[in-house]
């Protein structure tokens, strides 16, 4: 695999730009860049699994969006186009490693499908049934899956980053070989003051943690007084809605804390896999935290459509004879079957019992909550 001299598409341009934004797959599914073919592109042999998980996520997400449109579930924030980052970062971990999800990371539960029930649980969560692992309490985004070593997502955009640091430190202090990954989406991850705390504490504690933030590359519309901060070659993590922020390189962000930072194409599963896996290895070696920025684009935009991670990984697999139309049809049928079953089950399941309102405030129900419960008309 030789280094191409000219970028071929905007994806390649990302992969090679001087901001260190890294990519492996071109939009045609052909490997670009300086990746030695020997081991890397196959994601350690997991590339087919990755594709399967991405497909599952895409299909679940589409169904969830449809349910939302029908008014059958509450607010839903989709993950279309972000499958590569969600799936590849989770799969770059070992089974003993932990994930601290953010508010937009419900897709992660579908990756660590430990007992085959993840799809059902996903829809129970969306329908907020009695079968929701979170007992219908948080509403969308309150991802929690202890059995899958996934922590509990909260509300504040960056609040969970420090949690991952403390968890990672604790595991190391107890002599466990565990790496902790903190996931998040949007400018709130880096703008939130908790970002500063998390990177500062991670640096000081040399915690074996990997932070992965997904950023939507914005409209690249230069804003007043910001023209020097965003340039077309630097994918700016700004947002369609007009949220603002300075967008230094990932490296600069991390350097302030002694934490290496890298930006990668978040729609390229092999790039995300490699970057996260390197960070995980680094953490495992005792070298501390890393900061990964994964750039994503809306799938319904021109740029995003050209970079669809499913299309790219499928082309890559087909070219290598590891995937074909038949496999695709079989997967599609299986996935839709799972989803249909899950939606029909969760969609008609009863909500949590009224008494559950008072449970889990404390480990045991204190008398004053017993009184409140028993006074319910």
């Amino acid at each position: 695999m030789s280094m191409p001299t000219e970028p071929r598409t905007s994806a390649e341009a990302l992969g090679l730009n001087d901001d260190g934004c890294f990519s492996v797959l071109g939009s045609d599914g052909v490997v670009v860049g300086d990746t030695p073919e020997s081991e890397e592109p196959s994601a350690g042999g997991a590339d087919v699994d990755m594709y399967v998980a991405m497909r599952r996520l895409r299909a679940c997400d589409a169904r969830a969006a449809a349910l939302r449109a029908e008014g059958r579930i509450g607010p839903y924030a989709g993950a279309a186009g972000e499958e590569a980052t969600l799936v590849a970062s989770a799969m770059a971990l070992g089974p003993e490693d932990w994930i601290f999800p953010g508010r937009r990371d419900h897709g992660l539960t579908l990756v660590r499908d430990v007992d085959g029930g993840a799809v059902a649980r996903f829809f129970h969560h969306l329908f907020a049934t009695g079968g929701d692992p979170a007992k219908g309490r948080p509403g969308l985004g309150g991802t929690t899956a202890r059995g899958a070593r996934i922590a509990s997502a909260g509300g504040p955009a960056a609040g969970h980053l420090c949690h991952a640091v403390g968890f990672a430190w604790a595991a190391r202090a107890r002599g466990e070989d565990v790496v902790t990954l903190a996931s998040g989406r949007g400018a709130g991850v880096t703008a939130g003051a908790s970002f500063h705390d998390a990177l500062n504490f991670a640096g000081v504690l040399r915690a074996p943690v990997v932070f992965v933030g997904r950023y939507e590359a914005g409209p690249d519309r230069p804003r007043k007084g910001e023209d020097d901060a965003t340039s077309s070659s630097v994918p700016a993590a700004t947002v369609a809605s007009g949220r603002v922020g300075r967008f230094p390189s990932a490296r600069a962000r991390g350097e302030a804390y002694g934490v290496p930072g890298i930006r990668c194409d978040g729609m390229d599963p092999l790039a995300v896999y490699r970057v996260v896996r390197d960070a995980v290895r680094r953490a495992r070696r005792g070298e501390g935290a890393s900061w990964v920025e994964a750039v994503v684009h809306p799938l319904d935009g021109v740029r995003g459509a050209a970079l669809d991670p499913l299309v790219r990984l499928r082309r890559y697999l087909v070219a290598r004879g590891r995937w074909d139309d038949e496999a695709e049809r079989a997967l599609e049928a299986r996935t839709q079957g799972q989803i249909d079953a899950a939606v029909s089950e969760a969609g008609s399941a009863p909500g949590p019992a009224r008494a559950t309102l008072f449970e889990d405030v404390y480990r045991a129900l204190p008398p004053f909550l017993v009184a409140q419960r028993d006074a319910v008309p």
Partner: protein
């Protein structure tokens, strides 16, 4: 008089005051280009420009800290917190800085800003988009806390808040953002802070509430009337400093009181209302003051309608109190 909903009334107030007073500046997450997640600030950026309506980074501490500096300079910042649930990252700025600067500086500086934030449940917002944190601010010396229940009050109280020399937390009950409609005076119009409104006169039980729960309370009062219990309903409007005289007047008449709010019960504003009534009208009390509130649990998504103190629960408390 034009008819408006709450969103329109607040937008109208902001627009009016920004025209009248060029010191007024709006800032927050998505308030500019996007017009706010609830469209409350819609059109303001086009009308007043980027220097008056600022989209900020997603950090509430930064928003309030920056607004503090603007206020010290002499502007009248009106920062928005997108949901009151996300006000806590700014809590240190509000409690340690905004509330205290007049006192700690010996009166050299004031911090006249108005922090707008939607509060309350009932819109399927879930755990982190439904809370009612007013009591957290009432306990902090130096702050004023306002919560309108009608479009008219929303406009009048907001204009009074912006013109107030002290920092005001302005909580907007999002469940009635569009559901509450009514006449709103056009042009300049203020409602004095610190005055409750008697929404319904009655002889038997005083029902004290505010925000979206006003409508549940009125529904319960109507139902109670059918059972022969005549309720007086007070809308506090200003939660701090609250109108203890109005409460006293009403309780002197009825001798019985029920307080309703969405926030958790313990150490909520209802506790202060009950304690204050004990101080000013103890001898008139003929029944124990009751609180009908959110439970002492985090806010639940699926069971939010069980959590909220809706009219059936209020009615039961009214009847028990009347018959005590």
């Amino acid at each position: 008089m034009p008819q408006m909903n709450m969103v329109e009334a607040i937008n109208d107030a902001l627009r009016f005051e920004m025209t009248r007073d060029d010191r007024v500046v709006v800032l927050g997450e998505d308030v500019g280009h996007a017009g706010g997640v609830f469209r409350v600030t819609e059109g303001l950026r086009d009308a007043f420009g980027e220097e008056r309506v600022l989209d900020t980074p997603l950090s509430e501490g930064g928003i309030i800290g920056t607004a503090f500096g603007m206020a010290l300079y002499g502007l009248r910042p009106v920062p928005e917190i997108q949901f009151a649930d996300f006000i806590f990252p700014a809590y240190d700025q509000i409690v340690s800085e905004v509330a205290k600067v007049r006192y700690r500086s010996g009166g050299q500086y004031g911090c006249p800003l108005v922090i707008r934030a939607p509060v309350g449940g009932g819109i399927r917002g879930g755990h982190y988009h439904s809370q009612s944190p007013e009591a957290h601010f009432v306990h902090v010396a130096g702050l004023k806390v306002v919560c309108p229940a009608t479009p008219e009050d929303a406009k009048g109280l907001l204009l009074a808040s912006i013109r107030d020399e002290d920092p005001v937390l302005f909580f907007e009950p999002k469940r009635i953002y569009r559901a509450a409609r009514g006449d709103v005076p056009s042009g300049d119009f203020t409602v004095e802070l610190g005055r409750a409104r008697v929404v319904r006169e009655g002889e038997d039980v005083t029902l004290i509430t505010y925000g979206a729960m006003l409508y549940e309370a009125l529904e319960a009062a109507t139902a109670a009337a059918a059972e022969g219990v005549d309720c007086e309903v007070l809308d506090l409007r200003t939660l701090w400093p609250f109108d203890v005289d109005a409460m006293q007047r009403s309780v002197e008449k009825t001798g019985r009181v029920v307080v309703v709010h969405e926030a958790p019960k313990s150490c909520g504003l209802g506790a202060e209302i009950v304690a204050s009534i004990n101080e000013c009208a103890f001898l008139r009390l003929e029944a124990p003051p009751r609180r009908v509130t959110g439970y002492d649990t985090p806010f639940p998504y699926a069971l939010e309608m069980e959590y909220l103190p809706r009219s059936p629960r209020i009615l039961r408390a009214l009847l028990e109190t009347a018959n005590f």
